[in-house]
């Protein structure tokens, strides 16, 4: 029986002593299970390929693991050879004094045994080997000029004990130097800051207090929008995500401390870019926590991942292109004076790689005459959208994503006008010219209640996420409204999927009701 199976069997017996009469059967069962384990050989080519992908995706070149350039036996052999090579002249140098080093050490040990050279309590000999200890004693006796003054505290690096002055020190320093001889391979350093360092820099920037200009801009925005955005947002910039994770939940103040994307004035930043790439996992984390009766941590609530957990978008525009894009505009359910824009992107064709769509990225050009400010919902993890490299995206045929923005129209103007223009750009093939597919936003926003179920559902998921995140920008968002919207979608024909979501919203509302503020 394998040791691993024996351990499992032991655990099982501890849990269920009645198995004692069936150990053979269980052992056989474990062996059979282990025999089913598929043998998958290493794939160094894939490993190298993915390493390149990581490097390309994050603009860094993390150094490969240093590998010894010589066989493993080479370093110890070299060290031993050097040891004897240097020890030999030391012995020869000691020989004219009429006694060998061993004899000398033996005398020292005999004196120590006789009680005259007892080490003091301060002697730093705890970690040395016998050879080191003896050598230190010898060195001490020589440095002080008398055999009776063997001070063990005289050790490595002690003033006045330079190797050049005493040949015996050579062996001492060699013993000390054996460690540094070992590491042969050197890691090549790189001056360019890596991705992680960039992330840390951006985190520090977020932790730093906002500049006067940004404070002014945020304050002005908050005043014009009638929201309490500036204070929480300014406060939001101070704590790091780790601190937000550590803090108790679900207190509003703590959740508000998570740095969220702010509203950005279109006149100040008229173009937004984002790679066509969205992570996963947030929905599962959130669902798991809610089903366990807890609010999820703020850092696990990622609006873009919650939204894209569902596939409800089917862009139909630009039939000739391999990439489809569609823009929808709704009145924002949690802030009636705002708009909610949903940009859906999809790779056309049968599911699989979309070799034409390399480095797919999205670009929004906001019309400052119509859109006063815009805010990207989610994507807090990747830093500010403008800082994301445009070639990080990847798009596969049959797959897509939806990206949401909350917009503040100029002077509450919700009339028929083009609010913004969206373009997706990608490289069809290596070396080919970058292609752009451009779509204008619709001129009129729909009311949520009269929107198609897919759009209603998207808005509901976002509202739910905003409340879960305790976003300072959540406005009038609440679980009851999200539940009402979700219920409406669930009742639509073919939208049974919304039933599970509706349960989550109800459960969230229950947790909120039971949680003390």
């Amino acid at each position: 029986m394998k040791p691993e199976d024996a351990e499992i069997l032991r655990e099982l017996l501890q849990r269920d002593p009645s198995l004692a009469g069936h150990t053979d059967k269980v052992a056989r069962l474990l062996a059979d299970l282990r025999a089913l384990r598929p043998q998958i050989p290493d794939d160094p080519a894939l490993k190298a390929r993915l390493r390149q992908k990581l490097e390309a995706a994050h603009g860094l070149k993390f150094p490969p693991r240093p590998r010894p350039r010589w066989p493993q036996w080479f370093a110890p052999s070299l060290a031993i050879a050097l040891f004897f090579l240097i020890l030999t002249p030391v012995v020869l140098l000691l020989a004219p004094r009429g006694k060998s080093m061993n004899q000398d050490l033996a005398v020292e040990d005999a004196r120590a045994a006789g009680g005259r050279d007892k080490p003091s309590s301060a002697a730093p000999l705890g970690g040395e080997t016998d050879l080191e200890r003896k050598t230190i004693r010898r060195k001490g006796s020589q440095a002080t000029g008398g055999p009776g003054d063997a001070r063990p505290s005289v050790g490595l690096g002690e003033p006045g004990s330079s190797p050049a002055s005493d040949p015996a020190d050579l062996s001492l320093n060699l013993v000390a130097a054996l460690g540094p001889i070992w590491p042969i391979a050197q890691v090549e350093s790189e001056d360019r800051p890596g991705f992680l360092e960039k992330k840390l820099d951006s985190a520090r920037e977020m932790e730093a207090p906002p500049s006067r200009a940004s404070k002014k801009a945020m304050g002005g925005m908050a005043a014009s929008m009638g929201q309490a955005a500036s204070a929480p947002a300014a406060k939001a910039a101070s704590p790091s995500r780790a601190e937000a994770d550590e803090a108790p939940r679900p207190v509003d103040q703590v959740a508000a401390a998570f740095p969220e994307n702010p509203f950005i004035e279109s006149t100040r930043e008229g173009v937004s870019r984002l790679p066509a790439r969205i992570g996963g996992g947030s929905f599962d984390l959130v669902r798991r926590e809610i089903l366990a009766g807890r609010f999820p941590k703020r850092s696990s609530v990622r609006l873009e991942e919650l939204l894209n957990h569902y596939r409800f978008h089917r862009p139909t525009s630009d039939g000739a292109e391999s990439v489809g894009i569609q823009v929808s505009l709704l009145r924002c359910p949690w802030n009636p004076s705002h708009l909610l824009s949903l940009t859906a992107l999809e790779g056309k064709g049968k599911p699989g790689p979309l070799p034409v769509a390399r480095g797919a990225s999205l670009e929004w050009r906001w019309d400052g005459r119509r859109v006063k400010a815009h805010r990207l919902l989610g994507f807090e993890n990747g830093g500010q959208p403008g800082a994301v490299q445009a070639d990080q995206g990847e798009l596969r045929a049959g797959e897509g994503l939806v990206i949401a923005h909350e917009l503040v129209p100029v002077d509450g103007d919700l009339g028929a006008a083009t609010f913004f223009e969206v373009a997706v750009q990608f490289t069809p093939a290596p070396g080919a010219t970058v292609r752009r597919v451009r779509v204008s936003a619709p001129g009129r926003a729909m009311a949520v209640e009269s929107a198609p179920p897919a759009l209603r559902f998207a808005a509901t998921v976002l509202e739910w996420g905003l409340v879960l995140a305790r976003s300072p920008h959540r406005g009038q968002a609440n679980f009851e409204q999200a539940e009402r919207l979700a219920r409406g979608v669930r009742d639509e024909k073919g939208w049974e999927l919304a039933a599970e979501f509706l349960d989550l919203v109800r459960k969230s509302a229950q947790i909120e009701a039971q949680t003390p503020r």
Partner: protein
Amino acid sequence: MSPHPHDALAVRASKGDRDAFGELYDHYFEPIRRFVAWHGGKPDRVEDIVSQAFLQALDRITAYDPAKGPFPAWLYTIARHCVIDQFRREKKTVFSDLSLVPDAREAEGEPVPEERLAQMRTLLAELKPQQREVVLLRVWEDKSYEEIAAIVGRSADACKMSFSRSLALLRDRMPPVALFLAFCLEGLRSLA
């Protein structure tokens, strides 16, 4: 949970040490690939999922906190979610389609009759996905219950209970004739 030897390396990576992440990548690439392959099946899908897993790990490494669990569990959790997401996109049930597992087995150990393996595969497929996942993580991956708990998001005791019950189910469902024949064969082999 006791700290893992790689936790310190992961902390260095979380503080921006590129070498540390490179070392972690080198160490965990093959285990994660095998983990994904066992559950994900086809090579092109495995490549995608492993790629996503490491991209996400690199994205989130700054948030890694050893106090919340050992690094391997953190990384396996990311890989597991990538597997689940991929299957969800393809509208398939995760960890249920054992036919996707490549039919190549370890050469070590004594050979197991093909019939019995086929029976075992069938029985394993009849377990609930959550039960099967715990069994495979424990037996195929040799993960501790604490690690399994961190990966699947349940308590260690629940994982122990699940494993124990799954083995009991497998044992009870294993046809007695097959067991009898297996013991006979072993007896004959030992006599020979």
